[in-house]
C-alpha cells in the first residue's frame, strides 16, 4: 500500500512527501494553518503558511514569526506536492487545504460552514479522492435556520431589550462570530460596544484593511449610562464575571450552534439563545461530502463516531479519526482571559 498523502500523527495531520503538517497541535517545522482559532493554530512552529486574511490574526494570537500567505485557488508546490487553499466559510481567512500528489487529491476541510455569511468567504466543495471532514454538529438534530432569519430574531430581541431600557449583551466567539454579528447589530442603529478580546481581533482586521462597522471598546472609565439600551458583544468567558456589572440592567443572548438544544441554553442560564453557528449543520455536512465525490472520508472532531457510521450505512466509506481539534471553546476562553488582562 502506498504511503497516504496525509497521516494522522501525534503532532497532527502530516503530509510525508510534502514534509509539512496541517494544523499541528505540537510545534513542527512547517505548519499549514486552516484558520486562526486556537485549537487549529498553535504557537511554537518554525514557519506558518495560511491564507492572507489569517496572517494578522495569527500574528495577534501567536506573536511574531515567519508567516507565508497565499490567496484562495493559488497553488504552490511544496516538495512536489501541489497545495492550494479554498474558502471554508467558517471565519475570516478560513480555508480548506487541497493536496495533490502523483494524481491523488486529498482535502482537509478544517472547520467549515456551507452558508455564505457575507464575511468569511463563500464555501466551495472541492472534488477529491479523500476528504477529511469535521463533524462538530454531525447529528441530524442540528439544522440551522437561514442567517437572515436568525439575524431578524436577534434584532427583535435587541429592540425589545432597548424598549425596556436593558442592554443587550451578545455572547460570541471573539474571532468569527463577533465579526459576523456586526452587520446584524449595525442594522438596529444602536451603538455597539466590544469586550477587549473582541476589540483586539477587530482592530487587527481593520488594520489589515477589512471594512467593519463602527464600534467602541468598553473602557473602565466609561459612564454606565453610555451602555443603557445599547449592544455589547463579548466572549462567553465574560458571562457571570464582575465585568458585566456595568451593563446592568442587561439581558444575555448566547450565539452558538449549541443553543439549538434547550438544555444548553438553560445550563448557560442565558436569557436568550440563538443557534447561529460557524459550522456546517447535518445537511451541510452531507451535501458537502457528496459534492466532493470522495471515495473515502475521514471524520474528525465532533460526533465522529455516529457520523462516520452513518456515512458507511449510506454507502460512503468513512472512518473516524481522533484529533485534538474541537477545543475551540476552552482554548478561546484561555486566550480571552489573557487578552482581557
Amino acid at each position: 500500500m502506498p504511503t497516504p498523502l496525509i497521516q494522522f500523527t501525534d503532532r497532527g495531520l502530516y503530509c510525508p512527501p510534502g514534509k509539512f503538517h496541517i494544523d499541528p497541535w505540537k510545534p513542527v517545522d512547517k505548519a499549514v494553518i486552516t484558520h486562526a482559532h486556537s485549537d487549529h493554530a498553535r504557537p511554537g512552529s518554525n514557519s506558518y503558511l495560511s491564507h492572507t486574511y489569517s496572517k494578522p490574526l495569527l500574528e495577534l494570537r501567536l506573536g511574531p514569526g515567519i508567516y507565508e500567505t497565499i490567496g484562495w485557488n493559488e497553488p504552490v508546490w511544496i516538495n512536489g506536492v501541489k497545495l492550494s487553499l479554498h474558502p471554508a466559510g467558517h471565519v475570516i481567512g478560513s480555508s480548506q487545504v487541497r493536496l495533490e500528489y502523483e494524481g491523488e487529491v486529498w482535502v482537509f476541510s478544517g472547520d467549515y460552514k456551507t452558508e455564505n455569511d457575507g464575511i468569511s468567504g463563500a464555501f466551495e466543495p472541492v472534488k477529491c479522492d479523500v476528504f477529511i471532514t469535521e463533524s462538530t454538529f454531525g447529528l441530524p438534530i442540528y439544522n440551522w435556520k437561514p442567517q437572515e432569519e436568525i439575524f431578524r430574531n436577534i434584532q427583535d430581541w435587541i429592540m425589545q431589550n432597548h424598549s425596556q431600557g436593558k442592554t443587550s449583551v451578545l455572547m460570541a466567539y471573539s474571532l468569527g462570530k463577533a465579526q459576523r454579528l456586526l452587520p446584524c447589530v449595525e442594522a438596529t442603529g444602536l451603538p455597539i460596544f466590544l469586550h477587549g478580546a473582541v476589540y483586539n481581533v477587530h482592530q487587527a482586521l481593520v488594520a489589515a484593511g477589512h471594512k467593519l462597522p463602527a464600534i467602541q471598546r468598553v473602557q473602565q472609565d466609561m459612564p454606565k449610562d453610555i451602555f443603557k439600551g445599547n449592544v455589547v458583544i463579548a466572549p462567553g468567558s465574560a458571562d457571570g464575571t464582575p465585568w458585566m456589572k456595568r451593563f446592568s440592567p442587561y439581558s444575555v443572548g448566547v450565539c452558538s450552534g449549541w443553543m439549538q438544544v434547550r438544555g444548553n441554553l438553560r445550563r448557560r442560564n442565558a436569557d436568550a439563545g440563538f443557534a447561529l453557528s460557524d459550522h456546517a449543520d447535518w445537511n451541510g455536512l452531507l451535501h458537502t461530502i457528496k459534492a466532493t465525490e470522495a471515495k473515502k472520508v475521514f471524520v474528525t472532531h465532533g460526533f465522529q463516531s455516529a457520523f462516520s457510521r452513518y456515512l458507511n450505512e449510506i454507502g460512503i466509506e468513512a472512518a473516524e479519526v481522533k484529533t485534538e481539534y474541537g477545543q475551540e471553546e476552552t482554548a478561546e476562553e484561555v486566550e480571552e482571559k489573557r487578552e482581557e488582562g
Partner: protein, 534 residues
C-alpha cells in the same frame, strides 16, 4: 397551540420569576377558557396520562423522516429529552402548508379519546399532528403532553399568582378552589373558580402550609416559649377529611389516597363530621414510626396483602386541625388549633390516629440537644411553629420552619456515568458510586445532584477522557474520583448488589483530597445499616 408553545418556551428559558409571572398572566388574559382550564391542570400536577408509549413514538418518527433507529438514539442521548429530539428531527419541510393547527385543548382531549384506539389510528394522529404544527416549539409541547412527561420550570404558586391577576381573586382563594378533585375535561373555567364549586365538593382539601428550612440558629427566632416544637416525620404529608359522613385522604401532591390505606377506613365511623386534619401518613408500630423504606412497600400498591398490613401498618400522625364542625379554622392561632386537635385525638384513641407530640423544652440549647436524638425517634429533625401562627397557604417564611438533622455521609468512588437530561443534556451528570469490598468495588447508589455547574463540567471532561467501556448510554469510568455522599436514611434491600438502599442520596462534596484507596468499605456501610436502618 402557538400561544401555549410560546408560553412554555418563556417559562422554560426565563431565569426570573417576574418574567414567568408576566408571561403567564399575559397568557391567561388572552387564551380561551378551555385552554386555560388545561393550563391550570397541567401546572398543578394534573397531567394527562400517557396514551402512547415512547418506543412507538420513536419508531414512527424514525420512519417518517427515514432515519435509522440507532441514529435516533444517538440524537436522543445528546439532547436528553425525547420530545425535544423529535421536534428537532422533523424538518420544517414536512409541515403541511394547508393544515390549520388546533388549540391546546383539542390535542389533549384527542389524546384521551385515542387512549383506547388501535395503534394505526394513534400513528395516523401523531403524524398528522406533527405535520400540522408549524414550529419545533409547538411540536415539542405536543410531544411533551402526549408522552405524559410534561414538566415546566414554574411552581404552582407562580401560576396561581398569575391567575389571581387576571381574575381578581386572592391567590390563597384560588389555591383552595383549584385544589382537590376536578376533571379538566369537563369543568368550565368559571365553574372551577367559583365559590359554589367548593361547597359542592365535600372532598376539597385545603392548600397545605409548607415550611422553609431554618438556615440561621434558632436563637434568632426569638423566645423559645413563642414556639412549638414537634418531630419532623419522614412520611407522606397528608390531609384527612371527613364531611357528609364520607372520608377523603389527600397527599400533598393532591393525590387521593383514601382507598390505598384501608387502615384509615375506621375514621369514617369515629371522627366527628365536618373535620379536616393535617398530618403525616406513615407506618408505625407501638406509636413509633417505621423507616421510609417500609412505607415504600405500600406506595403505589392497589391491593394490599395481609402480610403488608401486618408489616407496615399505617397510622396518621396528626399535627394540625384545619376545619372543625364545618368551620374553617385556618385563621385561628396554632395554640388554639392544637387544643382542639388534642381534644379530638384523645376522644378517638386509636393506634391509627396518633397525636404527633409537642416537644417540651425550656431553652434553645435544650432543644438542640433533643434534636440530636431525632434519628432514635424515627424522625428527620424538628419542626418549629410559632404558637400564634395562622395556617397559611403554600411555602411561606416567618412562622413555620423545618430544622432537619445533618445527613449521614459516606465516601465513595464514581464507577459509572451517564448523560443527564434537561439542562444537563449532553453532559455526564448522573453517576453511580461504589464502596470497597476487599479489593473489589461494590456499587451501592446513584446520585444526581450536589455539584456546582463548574464541578459537573469538570467531572464531565474527566468521564470523556477516562471512560473504559460503553454500555448504551452508560460509561464505565476509571475509579478515581472520590465523593462524599450524603443521605437521609438507610434500609436493607435485596434489589441492590450492596444489600442496602439509601434515602435521598446526593453528593455533598467532591473529596479531591482523597484517593480511591481511602473510601469507605462495604462493611462500614453495613454497620450504618445496623445502627440506623432498624
Amino acid at each position: 397551540m402557538k400561544q401555549f408553545a410560546e408560553l412554555v418556551n418563556i417559562l422554560g428559558t426565563s431565569t426570573k420569576t417576574n418574567d414567568k409571572l408576566d408571561a403567564l398572566s399575559a397568557y391567561f388574559a388572552v387564551a380561551n377558557d378551555r385552554d386555560k382550564v388545561w393550563v391550570i391542570a397541567l401546572f398543578s400536577g394534573r397531567r394527562p396520562r400517557r396514551t402512547i408509549n415512547s418506543t412507538l413514538i420513536q419508531q414512527w418518527c424514525s420512519e417518517l423522516i427515514g432515519l435509522p433507529l440507532w441514529l435516533f438514539a444517538e440524537s436522543y442521548h445528546t439532547v436528553g429529552d425525547l420530545s425535544e429530539t423529535i421536534a428537532l428531527l422533523i424538518p420544517d419541510t414536512l409541515t403541511d402548508p394547508e393544515a390549520t393547527p388546533h388549540p391546546l385543548h383539542y390535542y389533549i382531549e384527542k389524546f384521551q379519546e385515542l387512549a383506547a384506539a388501535g395503534e394505526e389510528e394513534k400513528k395516523a394522529f401523531m403524524i398528522q399532528s406533527w405535520r400540522q404544527l408549524e414550529t419545533p416549539a409547538e411540536k415539542f409541547v405536543f410531544n411533551k403532553l402526549l408522552s405524559g412527561a410534561f414538566r415546566i420550570g414554574v411552581s404552582q404558586k407562580v401560576m396561581v399568582n398569575a391567575l389571581a391577576r387576571t381574575v381578581q381573586l386572592d391567590p390563597s382563594v384560588i389555591a383552595h378552589r383549584i385544589s382537590g378533585n376536578w376533571d379538566p375535561a369537563v369543568i368550565t373555567f368559571d365553574e372551577l373558580l367559583s365559590e359554589t364549586n367548593i361547597k359542592a365538593d365535600s372532598s376539597k382539601p385545603y392548600p397545605f402550609y409548607l415550611a422553609y428550612a431554618l438556615e440561621t440558629s434558632p436563637e434568632e427566632l426569638g423566645e423559645p416559649d413563642e414556639w412549638q416544637a414537634e418531630w419532623k416525620w419522614d412520611g407522606i404529608r397528608g390531609q384527612l377529611i371527613k364531611r357528609n359522613n364520607e372520608l377523603f385522604v389527600w397527599s400533598r401532591g393532591e393525590e387521593l389516597l383514601t382507598d390505598k390505606f384501608p387502615e384509615y377506613a375506621i375514621f369514617k365511623d369515629i371522627l366527628p363530621d365536618g373535620i379536616v386534619l393535617d398530618g403525616e401518613i406513615i407506618p408505625a408500630v407501638d406509636g413509633k414510626p417505621l423507616p421510609f423504606a417500609i412505607l415504600q412497600t405500600r406506595i403505589g400498591r392497589k391491593n394490599v396483602t395481609k402480610k403488608q398490613l401486618q408489616e407496615a401498618p399505617m397510622s396518621f400522625f396528626c399535627y394540625d386541625l384545619l376545619e372543625y364542625d364545618y368551620e374553617d379554622w385556618r385563621g385561628v392561632a396554632l395554640s388554639k388549633r392544637r387544643e382542639k386537635l388534642e381534644e379530638v385525638a384523645n376522644q378517638v384513641s386509636r393506634p391509627e390516629l396518633l397525636l404527633s407530640p409537642v416537644i417540651e423544652y425550656a431553652s434553645w440549647q435544650e432543644l438542640a440537644a433533643l434534636r440530636d436524638q431525632s434519628r432514635d425517634m424515627g424522625s428527620e429533625g424538628l419542626m418549629l411553629k410559632r404558637r400564634s401562627s395562622v395556617y397559611q397557604v403554600g411555602r411561606k417564611r416567618g412562622d413555620w420552619w423545618k430544622w432537619k438533622i445533618d445527613p449521614l455521609t459516606i465516601d465513595a468512588v464514581m464507577i459509572y456515568a451517564q448523560k443527564g437530561s434537561g439542562r444537563r443534556s449532553n453532559l455526564y451528570t448522573d453517576y453511580t458510586f461504589a464502596v470497597k469490598d476487599g479489593d473489589k468495588l461494590v456499587s451501592f447508589t446513584k446520585a444526581y445532584s450536589g455539584l456546582t455547574d463548574k464541578e459537573f463540567n469538570e467531572v464531565d471532561s474527566f468521564v470523556k477522557r477516562n471512560s473504559l467501556e460503553k454500555f448504551g448510554p452508560v460509561r464505565t469510568v476509571k475509579p478515581e474520583l472520590v465523593f462524599e455522599i450524603a443521605f437521609e436514611g438507610i434500609a436493607a434491600s435485596n434489589r441492590h448488589k450492596s444489600g442496602v438502599a439509601l434515602r435521598f442520596p446526593r453528593i455533598s462534596r467532591w473529596r479531591k483530597d482523597k484517593k480511591p484507596e481511602e473510601i469507605n468499605t462495604l462493611e462500614e456501610l453495613k454497620k450504618m445499616l445496623e445502627v440506623y436502618g432498624k
